[in-house]
């Protein structure tokens, strides 16, 4: 093959081969018009694609990992893991993620709807929302001193459920325990709750007493009580259980509480006045 030199530059020349190709080649002291046999052909850069493709694959892999991580994060924080039900008069249910983030709040009765109207739970965690709802209930008059708030936690994960119950109860009691009763409930309240006047009152008193009197001791007692309550569905030694039970109907509690109120509520208010009764009750409960 012979090549005709048609153009020269310092670093290269353009030649025409006999098949009609125009090529860039090394300029070996060529002049336009020369005919040459041997050429050193210019090699166009082509490795860019390889590098670029590798970079592209790397980026794609990274993006995939990132997606997985985000998916896990999303699931942990934004997928419903359990529900927390708060009942006073108003009955509301909070849907919560595994990380205790509140996903949804729904009212289970008319009062509940009232309680929730205008309340924004977005981005709040369970502790904050529960506390605020109780606060709201107090301010709106749904919850008065001495009344009871029932907490119910449901989830597929029993451990998580137990943990949430305990924590919710402790947190609410820390804030409101001196004024209201926080109690847990595992399932449908046993309809056969002892009439509040009987053991309910005392038990309620007990709880109140526990709250009022020896906080530490109370804590300990309460620690025990909730457990027993949980296990036995409020029955053993828990007139409060009875109170909590009927709490479903809301009103039931109140009338129940009323007879005892003088004592329990006062107690809740502050220990002493009903101390006598309470003491008795305490003895009962503790045994």
């Amino acid at each position: 093959m012979r090549y005709l030199v048609v153009e020269v530059h310092p670093a290269y020349a353009v030649v025409l081969d006999q098949e009609g190709r125009f090529l860039k080649v090394a300029n070996r002291r060529y002049q336009v018009g020369d005919q040459v046999d041997k050429i050193v052909e210019f090699r166009p850069p082509r490795q860019e694609w390889r590098g670029r493709r590798a970079a592209l694959l790397g980026t794609a892999g990274l993006a995939a990992c990132l997606c997985l991580v985000l998916l896990g994060y999303y699931q942990f924080h934004f997928t419903a893991y359990g529900t927390l039900r708060i009942r006073i008069n108003p009955d509301v249910e909070m849907t919560v993620s595994r990380s205790e983030r509140v996903l949804k709040l729904s009212a289970l009765n008319g009062d509940g709807a009232q309680l929730l109207s205008g309340y924004d739970c977005r981005g709040k965690d369970r502790e904050t929302a529960a506390g605020e709802l109780v606060e709201r209930a107090i301010q709106m008059g749904y919850l008065s001193d001495g009344e009871t708030v029932t907490i119910t936690v449901r989830s597929q994960d029993a451990e998580w459920q137990a943990r949430e119950e305990t924590q919710t109860r402790e947190q609410l009691e820390a804030r409101y325990g001196e004024r209201v009763v926080i109690c847990l409930e595992d399932g449908e309240p046993a309809a056969s709750q002892e009439p509040p006047a009987a053991s309910g009152g005392p038990v309620g008193d007990d709880d109140a007493e526990d709250d009022d009197g020896d906080d530490d001791g109370d804590r300990g007692d309460e620690g025990e009580d909730p457990e027993t309550e949980d296990d036995a569905d409020d029955d053993p030694g828990e007139g409060t259980g009875g109170i909590c039970g009927p709490e479903d109907s809301g009103e039931a509690e109140d009338p129940d509480d009323d007879p005892d109120d003088a004592s329990p509520e006062e107690e809740e208010g502050e220990e002493d006045p009903d101390g006598g009764e309470d003491t008795d009750d305490e003895d009962l409960e503790e045994s």
Binding site: M1, R2, L4, V6, E7, H9, P10, A11, Y12, V14, L16, D17, Q18, E19, G20, R21, F22, L23, K24, V25, A26, N27, R28, R29, Q31, V32, G33, D34, Q35, D37, K38, V40, F42, R43, P44, P45, Q47, E48, G51
Partner: protein
């Protein structure tokens, strides 16, 4: 240092598309290219190693076109390109000098150049006359292309690489040669009548558009009096690469 780096990079980027800027850049870094060559050959280019210098310059030019910021600083990249090119050249030369060992070697490693040199001495006068005529014709051709906004470098960049595409372009050329009117239209308007060419030659329109510049040059070569160029193109002998694809 950084400013110098920025300057080089911007020059390289400009040289990618502007052949004059590329030439200027090569001239500016001639010293660098020479020193890189000497590092390799351990001898001055003037002492019989001009080829290496030419190849080093081509390698520098390739580096200019192939450079991307992701590859680091330009000069080391160019140095690597020069070195690799020279290594390849030496490998090829070693192979070729093996083939030519049947010829009486007068100087080791320089047989090829020597043979060319001898041939030139024989036909010196003839070739000189031919070369002069060729140069004039080529310059005229180049001027006509420049009038259409093309340079030979542009045409070379646009030249088809695959044999299949080259064959398709040849079909277009054959068809155009059979339709003098089309060629006249090209000369007159400076534009390629792609539709008719695609239809008449049975080639894909996209191919024609992709290699528009090359086709303009090749078709032009068959207008006017570009005898020498045409003669060169039709000069396919048995020992010259196997004839037309």
């Amino acid at each position: 240092m950084e400013q110098a780096e920025h300057k080089i990079i911007s020059q390289v980027c400009a040289a990618k598309t502007d052949s004059q800027a590329a030439d200027a850049l090569v001239r500016e870094y001639m010293g660098f290219i020479r020193s890189e060559t000497v590092k390799f050959t351990h001898a001055l280019p003037e002492n019989g190693h001009e080829d290496e210098l030419s190849i080093a310059m081509l390698a520098f030019y390739e580096a200019v076109l192939g450079y991307e910021r992701a590859r680091g600083a330009f000069l080391p990249y160019a140095a690597r390109a020069i070195r690799n090119r020279l290594i390849d050249y030496y490998r090829q030369e070693r192979r070729r000098s093996g083939e030519l060992s049947l010829q009486a070697p007068l100087e080791s490693g320089e047989e090829g150049a020597l043979m060319d040199h001898l041939a030139e001495e024989r036909d010196l006068l003839e070739e000189r006359a031919l070369r002069e005529a060729s140069r004039e014709e080529i310059q005229e051709f180049g001027a006509q292309l420049a009038g259409l906004g093309l340079s030979f470098s542009d045409v070379a960049d646009n030249c088809p690489r695959q044999a299949r595409t080259l064959a398709a372009c040849r079909r277009v050329l054959e068809y155009a040669r059979s339709q003098p009117a089309l060629l006249e239209e090209l000369v007159r308007t400076g534009r390629l009548p792609i539709s008719e060419l695609a239809r008449g030659s049975g080639t894909d329109r996209k191919t024609l558009e992709r290699h528009r510049r090359y086709l303009v040059a090749v078709l032009l070569a068959f207008t006017n009096g570009y005898e020498i160029i045409r003669g060169h193109l039709c000069q396919i002998g048995p020992g010259n690469g196997g004839g037309r694809a």
